[in-house]
């Protein structure tokens, strides 16, 4: 379609009319999608942006208060705490996930028995609802009755109180995020591994490269585009973690490990400060944009595109 239109734009009268007609059809055909996009995304986005400059409790009309919300976000100690928690989850989560998933993918890319079965096994948690995952893991972490601590007890190891101590809670949440997300990364890695031509390995072997050298000098460089993609997607996802902490670390209205999105929820829906909550959401969006921008900038230094 794009071709016809551009041809029409430079064409004669007849072509112009035809192209206009075709363009009209084009608009007509994408109208349902665009309408949905406009109503559920663009308008909502615009409304949210406007409301972020308002004091709004969701019960009475919004009152415009300029940059007050954003100024408050800047000074808000609780927001900062939530941000620190979020980063403390995100950084180990992403690093460990990229490494574990690569190991898994390489293991499951070799000729072992029941390969497809294992691949399915590791991918299953990806398809499970986060709330269900959180609920199950909460039981696994139970200090008195949970299997994890009774296992540690049997070997006389220290038994952490997992979810009720903010420090161990970070580890607990990271473990669950890893468990539930590693399968996705593994599948993407597998796809990446399978694009590496076998000849490269043969050539490397002929030149006397051992397994480690083949990995370091062939596999790793050729996987950099995959690693880059996964880290961008992973960080965007991880900075928005909510369901898991909502289900796992909350107890009677309080949360040992509030994250940024949890804080947005709390401010908006519990403390009746929806305008403020929305401005926090925009700040988070901005941060994600900055993170992603930096990643795209840095990729030039380390990502190899063949």
């Amino acid at each position: 379609m794009a071709e016809t239109v551009s041809a029409g734009a430079s064409g004669g009268v007849l072509g112009g009319r035809r192209s206009r007609q075709e363009a009209a059809w084009g608009y007509l055909l994408i109208a349902p999608v665009m309408l949905g996009f406009a109503v559920f995304f663009l308008i909502a986005l615009g409304a949210s942006f406007y409301l972020s400059f308002n004091k709004w409790d969701m019960l009475t009309s919004p009152v415009f208060n300029g940059l007050d919300n954003y100024r408050d976000v800047w000074r808000d100690g609780e927001f900062r705490e939530a941000l620190v928690n979020t980063l403390a989850i995100t950084i180990p989560h992403i690093v460990l996930r990229l490494i574990c998933a690569m190991g898994l993918a390489m293991a499951l890319n070799s000729n072992i028995r029941f390969r497809s079965f294992y691949r399915m096994l590791f991918f299953l948690p990806v398809l499970t609802m986060p709330v269900a995952i959180g609920t199950i893991w909460k039981w696994l972490y139970d200090p008195a009755f949970g299997p994890i601590n009774s296992f540690l007890r049997r070997f006389g190891l220290p038994e952490p109180e997992w979810l009720s101590n903010p420090r161990t809670a970070i580890a607990a949440v990271v473990i669950v995020l890893l468990w539930s997300g590693v399968g996705y990364d593994m599948v993407i890695y597998l796809a990446g591994l399978q694009t590496i031509p076998r000849e490269y390995y043969e050539a490397a072997s002929l030149d006397g490269a051992g397994a480690w050298q083949r990995f370091r000098d062939v596999t790793l460089p050729l996987l950099t585009p995959t690693i880059f993609f996964l880290s961008v997607i992973g960080i965007i996802y991880s900075l928005q973690v909510f369901d898991l902490v909502y289900v796992m670390t909350r107890i009677d209205q309080t949360n040992q490990l509030p994250t940024v999105v949890y804080y947005i929820y709390e401010e908006g829906f519990r403390n009746f400060r929806m305008g403020y909550a929305i401005s926090v959401a925009w700040v988070l969006l901005l941060m994600i944009l900055v993170f992603t921008f930096i990643q795209f900038r840095l990729q030039r230094r380390w990502v190899n595109y063949v």
């Binding site: 406007y50 009475t60 309080t254």
Partner: protein, 430 residues
Amino acid sequence: MVPKFSTRVNRRSLLGAAGGASALALTGMLPKIGSAQDASAVEPYNGEEVTITYGFWDMAQEAAITAQLEAFKVHFPAITVEPQIVPWGDYWTKLQTSLSGGESFDVFWINSASLPVYASAGALLPIDAVVGDGGVDLANFAVPLVEMYGWEGVQYGIPRDFDTIALFYNKDIFDAAGVAYPDDTWTWETFRTVSEQLTDADAGIWGAGLQTSWQENYYNFIYQNGGQLLSEDLSTSVVDSPEASEAFVYLTGFFADELTPTIAIQQSNPVADTLFPAGNVAMLPGGSFRAGTYGQADANIDVAPLPQGKERATVTHGLANVIWSGGANPGAALELVKWLAGEEAETILGESGATVPAHAGLQQPWLDANPDMNLQVFIDALEYAHKVPDPVVGFEWQIKIQEVVIEGFAGNIPAEEIGAQAAAAANEVL
């Protein structure tokens, strides 16, 4: 890949259109919420066929409410009431979003802490017209309950039930240990001593089950020790007083010495819902609303007054039915609220055993529904019950206190500092 004709609708005009539409959407939907009108201006129900919705959160009361609505239908055959249960965890979110979306419950439950918030926002219909000459005699309800649902001299709700806190205990655990059951002579010392006696880590039994809920835990102990939650004018929190601090230290001791399940354990095992009815906990300070469930539990449960500190005290609360000010059928909604406050509806509620009816003189059916337990202690407790103060700024201060207390119970901050830190945290939002 971007088709060329997209340049005709350029980004700026698209964003502009979105912005304009957003503004339209905002002005169109928002002012619907607070249509300030009062019941005297409401057109009385004229007998036409209408359907209204009734929102509430407690699954345990579903049967009772169904029975109430069937009885209501007999009196008002043309009014169909659709019950809508939204579990507690989602209730307030649902209420807020539905109010701001302009499509909410016609009649719904509210708690005292939320009343000032919603009343001041104009989301509730004043019901003065049905009070007094309008049909409902507020003298039938305990004063603190009525006061909870008035705001700035206007009545918004009529109490439907009330709760007080008492000490549930598992008779089998006491019998096995050969210890006498709790009674009204108990003090803080008795409670502590017996908790120590009954705790048996090897058998997986805790003497006490101190919940994370403020209402069923530390509020009672603060009042018993002569403390208060807020100053008289509701402007500052006074949980840093020596009286309140002493209560926090006393309670933290149970957690530190593992006489009660730790916070970590309670994270996945709410004591009142799992460990106590399963027989892992000997004593549980709990609300009257738990009696119905405990009557059917496997454990052999009875109830005694809370142990007393310097004085006898408990906190009381009650829920009320209120009306959304933006509903399409306020007349029918008023009829429902009025009828729900009457003897017939309150008797049905009591007979279900799920909660204590608020209407004076109608508690007997509730007592009869659970004859094996000495539930009279909950009703007697009204005499020494305190109402939790509800400032207009909402209930965030209670959560601020809770955050500090949970940290203290978990052992992350020293017990002596709980009061001071909690008061400071609460004062930030008051």
